[in-house]
């Protein structure tokens, strides 16, 4: 038998050994890249009357990336409350291939719902998709995008379904349910971001409209944040507010400097832009060969008077009325609140040739249509377009869509 050595201090030695190992482990853990996962902000109540489309899209970007200036250096991707970039690729710099790439998604969305494949999904799920209860019925690109968030299974891009389901089931969570749990407005914000992120072109922005059309009800502001949940984020100071009268809006936006607008007392002298009698003008303009040419070139997109008017304000150079120059200010997308824009558009769509004649306003000489007095007010073009001008109420959903309008002509 060997002699057993004196064993004093064993406990000390063992303790030192433990501390050494544990500090090495902790040291390595600290040496690795440190990422802190912040809890997402709880739903923020967004007042639609005080937010511009641009702000809405920025809010969407916040939801997607959690920051306004996402940087993708070193392969890192900032992930926001919506957690979308975990799977989807939004920008070329960002890497993600688990789910369909969302670059140019706005363009694709306009064709998706026309596909045979979409129709197959729609007929298969005619009784409602089991998890969300949604029946696929998108009729426009924006509606398709809205639908995809509420019901990912309503259409699954080929090759991105859950393995073994033959691309019939999507791995994407339902966005308005836990764990992501976005509110309706937040989903509209994300769709706004999707529609405008590629080129910042706000003529393509139909998110809010699409939502209302898709669900057939007005988009209500989210309930005020529950106490203790989160702080409300104050929206910036937009200029054209919901509470303003059309007159105030025209004054704030200085439309009167260029345009004559019936029903607005200060807008009687503008000589640079066309006379704004959109109940008469807009349907004609859309049908005009010049406008159709712009549509073909991909510059303009409107198919209803309402869309046309919104487009003309948000993206003036989409279509220049023949005889005019491209002089209009182009920063209205962040000067109007969503509701303020509605108000002005409503007003403009109510103005027709008769109203202008009543106030003694006439077209400019360079307008192709010629002076109003000679125009045949009883011609089909001159007829009041019922739908386009319906006041904004809960029942007017179909009107905003403009589908009904198209049928009139």
């Amino acid at each position: 038998m060997n002699k057993v050595k004196a064993t004093k201090g064993t406990i000390l030695k063992v303790a030192m050994w433990y501390i050494l190992i544990l500090s090495v482990f902790a040291g390595i853990a600290n040496w690795l890249p440190q990422i802190r996962g912040d809890a997402p902000e709880a739903a923020v109540a967004v007042d639609l009357s005080s937010i511009t489309p641009e702000k809405l899209a920025a809010m969407g970007k916040m939801i997607v990336f959690g920051t306004e200036n996402p940087s993708f250096g070193g392969g890192g991707v900032p992930i926001g409350k919506g957690q979308c970039p975990l799977c989807h690729m939004f920008f070329q710099e960002q890497k993600a291939d688990r789910c369909p790439v969302l670059i140019g998604e706005e363009g694709r969305s306009n064709n998706r719902f026309k596909e045979e494949r979409y129709k197959a999904f729609a007929s298969r799920l005619a009784n409602g998709e089991p998890n969300s209860g949604v029946k696929p019925h998108a009729a426009a690109g924006g509606q398709y995008l809205i639908e995809s968030e509420y019901c990912p299974n309503c259409y699954v891009v080929e090759g991105f379904g859950i393995k073994g389901t033959n691309d019939q089931e999507s791995p994407m969570p339902i966005i308005n349910k836990p764990p992501i749990l976005l509110t309706d407005t937040e989903i509209v914000a994300v769709v706004s971001f999707l529609q405008t992120k590629d080129d910042g072109d706000f003529t393509k922005w139909t998110a809010r409209d699409s939502w209302e059309k898709y669900w057939g009800k007005p988009l209500k502001a989210d309930a005020a944040p529950k106490e203790g949940e989160a702080k409300a984020v104050a929206a910036g100071p937009p200029i054209a507010l919901d509470t303003d009268t059309p007159e105030q809006i025209v004054q704030k936006m200085t439309c009167f400097a260029c345009h004559k607008i019936p029903g607005i007392s200060i807008a009687k002298t503008g000589m640079i832009g066309p006379l704004l009698i959109e109940k008469t003008n807009a349907p004609n303009r859309i049908k005009s060969p010049e406008y159709q040419k712009a549509v073909k070139e991909g510059k303009a997109h409107a198919s209803t008077p309402r869309e046309y008017v919104i487009e003309s304000i948000m993206h003036p150079d989409a279509f220049i009325v023949p005889g005019f120059a491209d002089d209009m200010i182009k920063d209205f997308s962040h000067k109007f609140t969503v509701a303020g824009l509605d108000k002005l558009v409503d007003h403009l769509l109510q103005q027709d040739a008769a109203a202008a004649v009543k106030e003694g306003l006439d077209r400019l000489p360079n307008e192709k249509e010629g002076p109003l007095k000679k125009a045949d007010l009883s011609s089909p073009e001159g007829k009041p377009v019922k739908n386009a001008a319906t006041p904004k109420t809960d029942e007017k959903q179909a009107s905003i869509s403009g589908q009904g309008v198209g049928g009139k002509f």
């Binding site: 038998m1 060997n2 057993v4 064993t7 064993t10 406990i11 030695k13 063992v14 303790a15 050994w17 433990y18 501390i19 190992i21 544990l22 500090s23 482990f25 902790a26 040291g27 390595i28 853990a29 600290n30 690795l32 890249p33 440190q34 990422i35 802190r36 996962g37 912040d38 809890a39 997402p40 709880a42 070193g74 392969g75 992930i79 957690q83 975990l86 799977c87 688990r98 089991p130 998890n131 791995p171 969570p173 349910k177 836990p178 764990p179 749990l181 529950k226 106490e227 203790g228 949940e229």
Partner: protein, 641 residues
């Protein structure tokens, strides 16, 4: 009594007894189910009054339950949260939870260990050997007794911490699990009773016959109660991760079984049983190693050397199936929420898995190193000493490949020198093919090392020894070639095919493990011994390797527990009850590493106290026992376990 001493009858009797006890254990579940049925029947006539809601997890067409609880509260800070000074409430709870979990695992794992040891002791033909196993089991049980009271104290502290710091959340959870919590408390009382009968009846029932079998059955009962206790505790964390039995607002739907039986319950149960067994082995091994180092007599040294070996062996045995349980758990996590799986494996928490990879490398190297050191006590092992360095070389090459990162951190000058972000040679080691190959080679090497350990003081005398040696050599060489070949082949095929390669690789490793060890054991039957095992003559470095192993086990447990808990992100109960405290964020891996190291240190410090208590009373007893039995002679034939 005499007839019971007939071993065959006693065995049959014990089997019957165990069956009965097993059936008895189903009792706690009966009231649960019955209660649920009753609730349904009661509700049936009053159909109109009750509100029905859809289960958040069980989504079948008929899965509507009667709303029988309030919705999950919307917690507010600071109203629904408590604080102690400037401490992070969550970190305090973290410590309380982790300590309770460690001690809970310990008192659960030790009876498992003791059960197996007692059984092995009873099945030994050699009386001295049987006595040795029995003594070891008894000694561990004594330590477990102290640890048991500490567990209870820590459990109390945990509950008070919950009540003080997270009253809103705890209130919600206890409202749903009200019946389970009561059954849990009752079982705890039952467990205490069984434990005391088991421990204090040890000597009385140690008659080597019928009573001993009864004693073992009590041990079985003790373990079963312990495991059921753990199942209940798991049901709470399972509910927190993947809630079921409630509707979207968190209203309880009346069927407690559904809340218990969530998507992740069983994977968690299996994972934790195996984890606990490995942990128990590690802790006992560390205890024995400490006693080995501190031993004053050769007899004591021999005893603890042997004990640490047996405990280490038990731990490794439980460790081997653990990855498969982990795979199952991850699969269920993906099945439950893919997004949760991605957060774990590829998202926010991916770096924690890097830590785990490192722990695995450390684990395997320490096991091998321990075995090399342990061979110092085997006469005749000198024959194999020259082999060790080649095994070390293989392990180190595999470790280098295993730990080569895919994304390198470098300066532009280094980038220019390298000619691209991927190094033309080292870059090959950063991909999945190389990693799978490396870990499989490491496991195969460990199996090989164990085979050598089994035979190092023996010379096979079976007629087919040359044949067997050749077969064994071919088995390992073939496996190594196959694993490396598949690894290299992975570079030449498209990525989608590559994933499939890992399975035959693992199968090669498992073949070595099962067929190799079996063949080796068969060959050593009746082998010529070159000398008795000189227990107590292992170098102290072997003990330090075992400490490293035990700490790695504990640390891995902490880090994986952190992973499991933080994958809920900002939810108390996933998607039902939101964490609205200021600590809802997920900590970076460094902070978690510091907390884990601190927790592990705290645990071991407390455990040291327990060991010290155990040593106080054991000192005298051992000398007498050893004198009686003569531990120097009684040796364990290596490879018989």
């Amino acid at each position: 009594m005499r007839s019971f001493n007939d071993p065959r009858k006693a065995k049959i009797g014990a089997v019957v007894l165990l069956g009965v006890i097993g059936l008895l254990l189903l009792l706690p579940f009966i009231p649960l189910q019955a209660g649920a049925e009753e609730a349904k029947q009661e509700a049936a006539p009053a159909e109109k009054k009750v509100e029905k809601a859809k289960d958040v997890f069980y989504k079948g067409p008929g899965e509507f339950g009667i709303v029988s609880g309030p919705p999950a509260p919307k917690l507010k800070y600071p109203d629904d949260y408590g604080t102690y000074g400037n401490f992070q409430s969550r970190s305090l709870l973290w410590v309380a939870n982790q300590q309770h979990l460690y001690f809970g695992s310990f008192v659960l794992a030790v009876p498992m260990f003791v059960f197996v040891m007692e059984l092995v002791g009873m099945l030994q033909k050699d009386k001295g050997m049987a006595r040795k196993y029995d003594d070891m089991a008894h000694e561990m049980m004594k330590i477990s007794l102290t640890a048991y009271s500490i567990t209870a104290i820590l459990g109390g502290i945990l509950i008070f911490t919950f009540l003080a710091l997270y009253p809103g959340f705890f209130g919600y959870l206890s409202r749903i699990f009200k019946p389970i919590m009561h059954v849990y408390a009752l079982l705890f009382v039952l467990e205490s009773g069984t434990l005391y009968i088991y421990y204090y009846g040890w000597d009385y029932m140690n008659d080597g016959g019928f009573l001993k079998w009864i004693h073992l059955s009590i041990s079985f009962l003790l373990n079963t109660i312990g495991i059921v206790l753990m199942f209940f505790a798991n049901s709470w964390i399972g509910f927190m991760m993947s809630p079921a039995g409630v509707d979207e607002q968190g209203r309880f739907l009346g069927d407690i079984w559904k809340s218990v039986h969530t998507a992740l319950w069983h994977p968690l149960n299996v994972h934790r049983i195996l984890g606990n067994a490995a942990f128990g082995g590690g802790v006992v091994a560390a205890y024995a190693s400490y006693r080995f180092l501190a031993a004053k007599t050769p007899e004591e040294k021999a005893h603890y050397d042997w004990m640490s070996y047996v405990a280490m062996f038990m731990g490794i045995l439980a460790l081997i199936p653990l990855p498969f349980a982990g795979y199952w758990l991850m699969r269920e996590v993906y099945g439950y929420r893919q997004q949760m799986g991605i957060t774990l494996m590829g998202g926010l928490l991916a770096w924690v898995f890097i830590m785990q990879a490192m722990m695995i490398a450390i684990l395997f190297v320490s096991v091998n190193y321990y075995l090399w050191q342990a061979m110092g006590r085997m006469p005749g092992a000198e024959r194999y000493y020259p082999l060790f360095k080649y095994m070390l070389l293989i392990l180190i090459v595999a470790t280098i490949s295993w730990l080569t990162p895919h994304t390198l951190v470098m300066t532009p000058a280094e980038l220019k020198a390298m000619g691209g972000a991927q190094h033309p040679i080292v870059g090959n080691y950063g991909v999945m093919s190389a990693k799978n190959t490396a870990i499989n080679i490491m496991i195969t090497t460990t199996v090989f090392c164990f085979c050598i350990y089994q035979r190092c003081n023996k010379v096979p005398t079976v007629k087919w020894a040359a044949l067997g040696n050749a077969a064994l050599g071919a088995l390992f060489t073939g496996a190594a070639i196959n694993i490396v070949f598949l690894g290299i082949y992975g570079y030449f095929i498209p990525a989608n095919v590559r994933i499939g390669l890992s399975v035959p690789q693992v199968c090669s490793t498992l073949t070595c493990l099962f067929i190799g060890v079996t063949l080796n054991t068969m060959m050593l039957k009746g082998a010529r011994q070159l000398g008795e095992v000189r227990w107590g003559q292992m170098s102290p470095r072997g003990s330090y390797a075992l400490f490293c192993l035990a700490v790695s086990f504990t640390w891995t447990m902490a880090v994986m527990g952190y992973l499991r808990s933080s994958v809920r992100l900002h939810w108390h109960v996933n998607e039902i009850l939101r964490d609205n405290s200021p600590w809802a964020f997920t900590n970076p891996v460094g902070y978690a590493g510091n907390m884990n190291s601190m927790n592990v240190l705290l645990f071991w410090t407390m455990l040291l106290f327990v060991f010290w208590l155990g040593a106080l009373s054991a000192k005298k007893a051992h000398v007498t026992e050893d004198e009686a039995v003569g531990a120097g002679k009684a040796t364990l034939p290596a490879g018989s376990h």
